[in-house]
């Protein structure tokens, strides 16, 4: 029996009921986020601070409401009961496949070419910098592996994949997951502001968000805040990077079994396919359907609406799933390492995305 099953039994209720209760909470919060967005969107100057209302896009409201509801639900002892309905990854992946149905395959191919080059440079540089710095701070190898994979590839799912390969402790995964969300949420808001201040073209900004912000939900959020093209490029770049999860998981498993544990047998390369994010295939097929005009009618307005709803549900869940209790147990050294690596990641991604998407592979949408 898994820990989550035990927790759920303590909280009471069957799995389906728990899921439905959680889903209702998420949907209500998403409606609230939509309402807040509508309330301020047309305002030219918020609170006399010179901030136009349209800057406060729905990802911000959704994540904020999730963060507010998080301690309230814990306080009234509903959180554990409803937790099965808080499914960031599921809602995000549904939204990404729907997003594919609005992107020409040519754009995916063009952007993916740049994204592959960017992904290889970013993932390898950030991974080894994080691994080296973690060593300097005396972090355990398993934590270094999970953290380096999370910060260099795509946050939560990469952390889980790496943890499986190196047999990391459960608290190390929880800890890195919390670190990812704590840094990704502010970056989701700050990165588009910086990009705006630098007059960054949308494809370059999208590539920067995709290479820099740690978790896919926050990447999509930053892209959504900056503009439609930025959202598309950010999603393509991040998904290209996500595809590397399997390769890194395999190499980690190989390193830990043969070098760290000194075993002779090698892990199977099948792990590359096992860890491959299959929804990316759905994203590509949806794009092909769109590109070849196989959509019998023009359902684009409906698809865009559903995509935004799916993303909004994901952003609410991201705020709900933040868990900071593990920070005290692990101490501050990993936090310092993670923050330094995030700054390194941000600056490197800025230069690389300008070079690749502004010059080498400009994505003309």
């Amino acid at each position: 029996m898994t820990t989550s099953t035990v927790k759920q039994e303590k909280a009471g209720g069957s799995g389906t009921v728990n899921f439905l209760v959680g889903l209702v909470i998420v949907v209500v919060l998403a409606f609230l986020a939509r309402w807040f967005k509508g309330l301020v969107y047309g305002v030219e100057d918020l609170f006399g601070l010179g901030i136009p209302g349209k800057v406060l896009e729905f990802p911000l409201w959704a994540a904020l409401l999730g963060l507010i509801a998080n301690p309230i639900l814990k306080g009234i002892k509903v959180f554990d009961y409803a937790k099965p309905g808080f499914r960031t990854e599921l809602f995000l992946k549904i939204g990404l496949v729907l997003l594919g149905a609005g992107i020409s395959f040519k754009v995916i191919v063009t952007a993916a070419a740049g994204a592959i080059v960017q992904g290889i440079i970013m993932v390898s540089s950030v991974y080894f910098f994080s691994w080296w710095l973690g060593g300097k701070f005396g972090l355990p190898d398993t934590l270094r592996a999970v953290m380096s994979t999370a910060v260099s590839i795509c946050g939560v799912s990469a952390a889980i994949a790496a943890a499986g390969s190196v047999l990391a402790k459960k608290e190390e995964i929880t800890y890195v997951t919390a670190l990812v969300i704590v840094t990704a949420l502010p970056l989701m808001v700050i990165a588009p502001l910086i990009a705006g201040a630098m007059n960054m073209p949308e494809p370059v900004a999208g590539a920067w968000f995709g290479g820099n912000v740690d978790t896919t939900a926050a990447v999509v959020g930053a892209g959504t805040i900056y503009g439609e093209t930025a959202q598309k490029i950010a999603s393509i770049v991040k998904q290209t990077q996500n595809v590397l999860i399997g390769v890194v998981a395999f190499l980690l498993a190989l390193y830990f079994t043969t070098v760290v544990e000194g075993k002779k047998e090698k892990p199977s390369a099948a792990i590359i396919w096992q860890r491959f994010p299959k929804f990316v295939l759905g994203f590509i097929i949806a794009s092909l359907i769109f590109t070849f005009g196989w959509l019998a009618t023009d359902p684009s307005a409906a698809i865009k609406g559903m995509k935004d709803w799916a993303f909004c549900l994901a952003f609410v869940c991201m705020g709900l799933e933040l868990e900071v209790a593990g920070f005290k147990k692990m101490g501050w050294a990993p936090v310092i390492v993670y923050l330094i690596v995030t700054i390194f990641n941000t600056l490197l991604a800025l230069g690389i995305s300008w070079l690749i998407f502004g010059w080498l592979f400009p994505a003309n949408l």
């Binding site: 549904i94 496949v97 359902p299």
Partner: protein
């Protein structure tokens, strides 16, 4: 044989069902306007 669907496939299936429903105009744009 027990077939286990992981989250990636589940998300893809749900998204394609939604796409199909939008294509046959079962889901109206005004219902899902964000």
């Amino acid at each position: 044989m027990k077939v286990k669907i992981n989250e990636d496939w589940l998300a893809t299936i749900i998204a394609f069902v939604l796409l199909l429903l939008a294509m046959v105009n079962f889901i109206k744009p005004e219902w899902v306007k964000f």
